[in-house]
């Protein structure tokens, strides 16, 4: 079995400005997607032999992203930008990662603790969600003593709101428990920082030199109509999506809790769909009402992922598009009915500003109303901590996440801007880098702004269609077990092989890491020999061989950012003007042929 090396010449090279495969540009933490795809494609067919390779790939991913096992179940942002989308379907990168995660989740429990020497300052992380944990992970590896202050009694934050049918509990707990175990991060549970016993100043006095604050958005947004709260949200039967999902994940809601009840979920985001599909699994006759329209491409399109919408539809959830809620009718203490006027426009030049046609309204029976229209931070606490500007917004530098009011405080995660899990993780990494620079007295901004350009799709004769992803049929899916089937080893290899490896070699180096090549070679053009015929430009699949008009003649050049050193142009060049520098093939051929001649001669 090969051994993949991550250091020295096999380390991927980062640059301030560079080409990357589009998936890696899209990934907020720029995970080395191509490299691990290539490594997966080069696993042996024998499962026992491959097991070792899978752990090696997992170790590589884990080093950068301790949540990759979770990402393999819930993320897949990279697939949205895959070059293959237009040619047969994006590479199923999420499932490839899940394939690694399926083994690695159990390997994590046995993984040895990192050998870390923590000789640097104490840093406090407020909030134990993906943002805070990522910062804690990165800072501990840099040698800081990190303490996480978590308001609740468990780590994970909003990750617990992801329903179990999408993310098995074992995957999440394994990722969370092992992260703190491997890095030796100190966690204090039931320790909310803000308006309570603990304040930022107190942390400072206790000897924490810097604080990363990522305490999320615990306050659900209420339902409004025409700028005012809709009355009746205090009725029994009305709940907020976040609270509902939180209670379900804590096991506080028994099976079939909603059996025979008419459940209406308000909202068009992924969380609303999570709430609806969870309510459906609890037996509810579920309807989703959202302001947005069905056409995802329009300006008022529904923000939820297509797969969520398809899943909900399959499971028998009714979706009512382009409707708001103007009135909630109660019957005694309980919610009974809502009225839904037509929404004519959701966004305008000022942003979210829904307009309704109140003459067109439909009544809808609702015995349970789950409001999932977003969530916000605890503004009062932020104000008390002096983290807001005079207009009531967070006063931070978006590049470094440093507070403009207090230089030792860094802010990120949903608290800064609501986003995906990996957006919060990115903030954690950014803050860790900023904290290191701040505490080491380095320039906090220099070279931070990275400029990536996605590489185009390589040309090839045939593109292959994506594999079918199997979901358990809807009628057998009404439980909280996973409904999506993962890849087998053979399927994973096949799918990883489909990857076009669009990105340049310097950002991948999978081949170097397993010793197929000693180093990357480079194409050199001899301008005296080049006749400018352009054959190389027609053979190059990557657009790296280009023809350029010089003063006296036309000649070919190589764009080294795009070149993969495959050697096609060298073979194709009729005048021998192109050659690969640092390629051991010719020496090997000469050796073999000399040896051959000698044997014949002898």
């Amino acid at each position: 079995m090969w051994t993949t090396m991550a250091k020295g010449s096999a380390a991927v090279e980062a640059a301030v400005k560079q080409f990357l495969p589009p998936c890696q540009v899209q990934c907020p933490i720029n995970e080395d997607i191509q490299r691990t795809n290539v490594l997966i494609s080069m696993l042996p067919d024998d499962p026992e032999m491959a097991a070792n390779g899978i752990i090696q790939i997992g170790d590589y991913l884990y080093n950068r992203n301790p949540f990759f096992t979770v990402c393999g179940y819930v993320c897949g942002l990279c697939e949205l930008e895959c070059n293959y989308q237009s040619k047969g379907g994006a590479i199923k990168r999420r499932l490839l990662k899940r394939f690694i995660a399926d083994s690695y989740t159990y390997h994590l429990d046995k993984k040895d603790e990192f050998d870390l020497i923590k000789h640097k300052e104490n840093v406090a992380v407020v909030g134990g969600g993906p943002g805070g944990l990522m910062a804690a992970y990165d800072l501990s590896k840099r040698g800081y003593r990190v303490t996480i202050f978590e308001a609740s009694d468990r780590l994970g934050g909003a990750l617990w709101l992801i329903p179990r049918y999408r993310l098995p509990e074992k995957v999440l707990t394994s990722a969370l428990d092992n992260l703190t175990r491997l890095t030796g991060v100190d966690v204090r549970f039931n320790s909310p920082v803000g308006n309570g016993r603990l304040t930022l100043d107190k942390l400072r006095n206790e000897g924490y030199s810097a604080v990363f604050m990522a305490k999320g958005t615990p306050t659900p947004r209420t339902l409004t109509f025409g700028g005012e709260d809709v009355k009746g949200q205090d009725l029994s039967g009305v709940m907020y999506g976040h609270t509902f999902l939180y209670e379900v994940s804590h096991g506080n809601i028994r099976p079939n809790y909603f059996r025979g009840k008419k459940v209406v979920v308000i909202g068009g985001g992924n969380v609303a769909f999570d709430a609806a599909r969870t309510a459906r699994r609890l037996g509810g006759e579920t309807t989703i009402v959202c302001l947005e329209c069905e056409d995802k491409k329009s300006k008022d399109g529904i923000p939820a992922d297509f797969e969520e919408i398809r899943g909900a539809w399959e499971e028998g959830i009714r979706i009512i598009y382009s409707r708001g809620v103007s009135t909630i009718h109660g019957e005694g203490e309980r919610v009974r009915k809502i009225e839904c006027p037509k929404c004519t426009s959701v966004f305008d030049a000022t942003g979210f500003n829904p307009q309704f046609d109140v003459s067109d309204r439909i009544p809808l029976d609702a015995e349970v109303l789950i409001v999932t229209v977003g969530q916000g931070p605890d503004r009062m606490a932020l104000h008390q901590d002096n983290l807001l500007d005079e207009r009531g917004r967070l006063a931070i530098d978006p590049l470094t996440l440093q507070s403009l009011n207090r230089e030792w405080v860094f802010i990120g995660g949903d608290l800064r801007r609501i986003g995906f899990m990996v957006d919060a993780m990115r903030d954690g990494l950014v803050a860790a880098e900023s904290i290191e620079r701040y505490l080491r007295g380095l320039d906090i901004k220099e070279g931070r702004k990275r400029d990536y350009e996605p590489q185009d799709i390589p040309l090839r004769r045939h593109y292959m269609t994506e594999p079918e992803v199997l979901w358990i049929p809807p009628e057998k899916r009404m439980h909280f077990q996973l409904f999506e089937r993962g890849f087998s080893l053979a399927e994973a290899i096949e799918e990883a092989k489909r990857c076009l490896t669009c990105g340049p070699c310097v950002s991948c180096k999978a081949c170097v890491s397993i010793g197929i090549q000693d180093a990357l070679s480079a194409v050199e053009v001899n301008p005296d020999r080049c006749s400018g015929c352009g054959i190389c430009t027609s053979i190059c699949y990557y657009g790296a061989a280009q023809s350029r008009q010089d003063e006296d003649k036309r000649r070919s050049v190589t764009d080294m950012f795009k070149c993969k050193s495959c050697g096609m142009c060298v073979v194709a060049c009729p005048s021998g003007a192109r050659k690969l520098v640092g390629d051991p093939m010719h020496a090997r051929i000469e050796d073999v042929y000399a040896n051959l001649s000698a044997t014949i001669g002898g």
Partner: protein, 130 residues
């Protein structure tokens, strides 16, 4: 003495023998040239092989559609087809250049394929030299 044909074997490193045990060197065929992509094998390399005394050239490429560099194996396929025609006109049988498109991570089939080719070439005898 029994005729033992010399086979030069080019093999793509992305499709053949990448999980093999490199240290032991067990069973690696003689006159073996692993290349990063079969597409890098030039016609002249094949001709040079015959010049150096080879009786056959075996090129092991990736499966169709699975080239790491998009279509390197296809390019080589074209080249081999044309070269076979040219070689025939010089009295070198087309069977002496063989291409195999498959995948064998362990690399254990390489030796066997060389052996098979040797057997077939034995029937042809040495390359006729003018």
């Amino acid at each position: 003495m029994e005729y033992n044909p010399n086979i030069v074997c080019f093999s793509c490193k992305f499709g053949w023998g990448y999980v093999g045990d490199k240290q032991s060197g067990n069973g690696s065929p003689e006159n073996w040239v692993p290349v990063v992509c079969s597409g890098k094998v030039e016609s002249t390399h094949i001709l040079e092989a015959f010049k150096a005394g080879a009786d056959g050239v075996l090129i092991l490429a990736c499966q169709e559609g699975h080239c790491h560099y998009q279509d390197g194996n296809f390019q080589t396929g074209k080249k081999v087809y044309l070269l076979q025609k040219v070689l025939e006109t010089f009295g070198i049988e087309h069977e002496r250049v063989r291409m195999e498109m498959a995948r064998n991570p362990e690399g254990d089939k390489i030796v066997q394929l060389v052996k098979d080719m040797k057997q077939d070439i034995s029937k042809l005898g040495p390359v006729r030299r003018f």
